[in-house]
Symmetry: D2
Subunit: 129 residues, 4 copies
Amino acid sequence: LKEFATIITPRLYETDAMGHINNATIAAWFEVARVRFIESLTERGPGIAKDWILASVQIDFVGETFYGVDVIAKITEATIGNSSLTLRCEMLQAGRLTVRGTAVLVHIEPQSKAPTRIPDTLRDKVAAL
Amino acid sequence: LKEFATIITPRLYETDAMGHINNATIAAWFEVARVRFIESLTERGPGIAKDWILASVQIDFVGETFYGVDVIAKITEATIGNSSLTLRCEMLQAGRLTVRGTAVLVHIEPQSKAPTRIPDTLRDKVAAL
Amino acid sequence: LKEFATIITPRLYETDAMGHINNATIAAWFEVARVRFIESLTERGPGIAKDWILASVQIDFVGETFYGVDVIAKITEATIGNSSLTLRCEMLQAGRLTVRGTAVLVHIEPQSKAPTRIPDTLRDKVAAL
Amino acid sequence: LKEFATIITPRLYETDAMGHINNATIAAWFEVARVRFIESLTERGPGIAKDWILASVQIDFVGETFYGVDVIAKITEATIGNSSLTLRCEMLQAGRLTVRGTAVLVHIEPQSKAPTRIPDTLRDKVAAL
C-alpha cells in the first residue's frame, strides 16, 4: 500500500490541562485520516459518506502529541472483507511515532443500515494502492 | 423571568493547556443551556429542533472557569421579536460569575430556512415565565 | 465489582451529520467515565490527576447513540497490574447496549512520566469494589 | 491591514445533526485564526502563548458553513489599545461570506494574570501590517 497521508496542525483547544493533545482529539484526527482515505477512493470527492459506519476503533498512545508541530497521519494498511474495511493508521510528530490505530468500518445500505458488500470498484482501487 | 438553570460538570478534555476550560467549550455549553431552554418550552421534549437557527452569539469571559467544580448556566432573560428570540445567559462557578452571554436565535421554516413568526403558544410560554 | 455509573446527557453539538453521536464524542465520554472512577478512588476528589496516562483505548460501537435520551456509562471491570489499570466500560441508552470499551491507564510519576507502581491504598479500594 | 488568512478544511465530526458545521466549532476555528495571527507576530513561533487571554468574542453567523469545501478565515482588522487587542475576522466558503467575528484579547502577565501593556515590538508589527 502506497502510504496515504494527511497533515494535521494541532490546535490550541485540542490540548488539555496535561499540556498535551487530548486522547479524544486523537480519536477525532483518526476519523479525519479515515474519511480522507475513503473520499480519495470514490469519484464523488468530499461529501458526507452515509454508506460507511464505524464498527470499532483501537488506539495505542505510543507517545504524547504536543501543540506546535504538525502531525502526519498515515493510513498504512487497508484490508477489505466482504462488507468490512480495516484501516491501520500511524501518526508521527517531528519524525517520532506517537499513535498507532486500527479501525473497522462497515459498508452499509444507508436506508436500512444493513451491511452490504463493498463494491468492486472500491475493491479494485484499494488493491491497486 | 424565573431563572432557568442547567448544571454542567466540567470534563477533563474541555480544559486546555492554559489549565482552564477553553473558550470554545464555553460557547458549546451556552448551546446546551439554550437548547434545554427551548426544549422546555415545547411539548415534544428533547429532540433536534430544526426550526431554530443561531444568528449571533456574544460572550464575555468575566472570569476563568476551571475543572473540578460544577457550573450553573442560567438563562436570565428571553426577549421575543417577530421571528427572533434573544436569550441572555450567565454562568457561575462556586458562586462566582464567570461568563455572560447573549444569543440571537431565529425561528425558521425547516425546509426553506426562511424566518417565520414564532408561534403564539411559544410566546405565551415565554411571557408566563 | 459493584458497577460504577455516570449519567451523560447527549448534547446537540455532539451529534454529527449522520444524525447520531459522533464516534470521537464516545471516546470523550469514555474519558469522563474513567476520570470519575479514578477520582472516586482517591481522597482528593475532583482535580486534574497528573499521575495517570492513557496507554490505549479500544471501543466497539455496538449500536448507534442518539440525541434526546440519557446514556449510562458504567465501569464494569477494573484490573490492576503493577503500574497499569485496565478499565472496561459499557454504555447503555434506553436499556440498549450501544458501546463496549476497554482502556489501559498507566500510573506515572508526574515529573519524569515514568511508570510507577500503583499505591496499595488504591489497590485495596479497587479490590473492595 | 494586509489580510492574514488561515485555510480550514471542515471535518466530519465538526458537523452536527442539522447537517452543517456546529456554531461551537466556528468559535473554535476563530481561535485557530487568532492564535495563528498572534504567533505570526512573535519571534518564538508556534507555542502556547500564556500572555494572552480572551476577554470577549462576538460572532455573526451570516450563512451556514458546510462540510466538503475549505473555509478561509481572515483576520481583517487588528486594533491595539493599551493592553487589549481587538481582532476582526471573516470566514468565507466558496467565496461566500459565512461568518463575521470580533474578539477582544488582553495581554497579561502570565503569573499574576494582571493586564500589562502590549510590548512596542508587537505594536510596531501590527502597525506595519
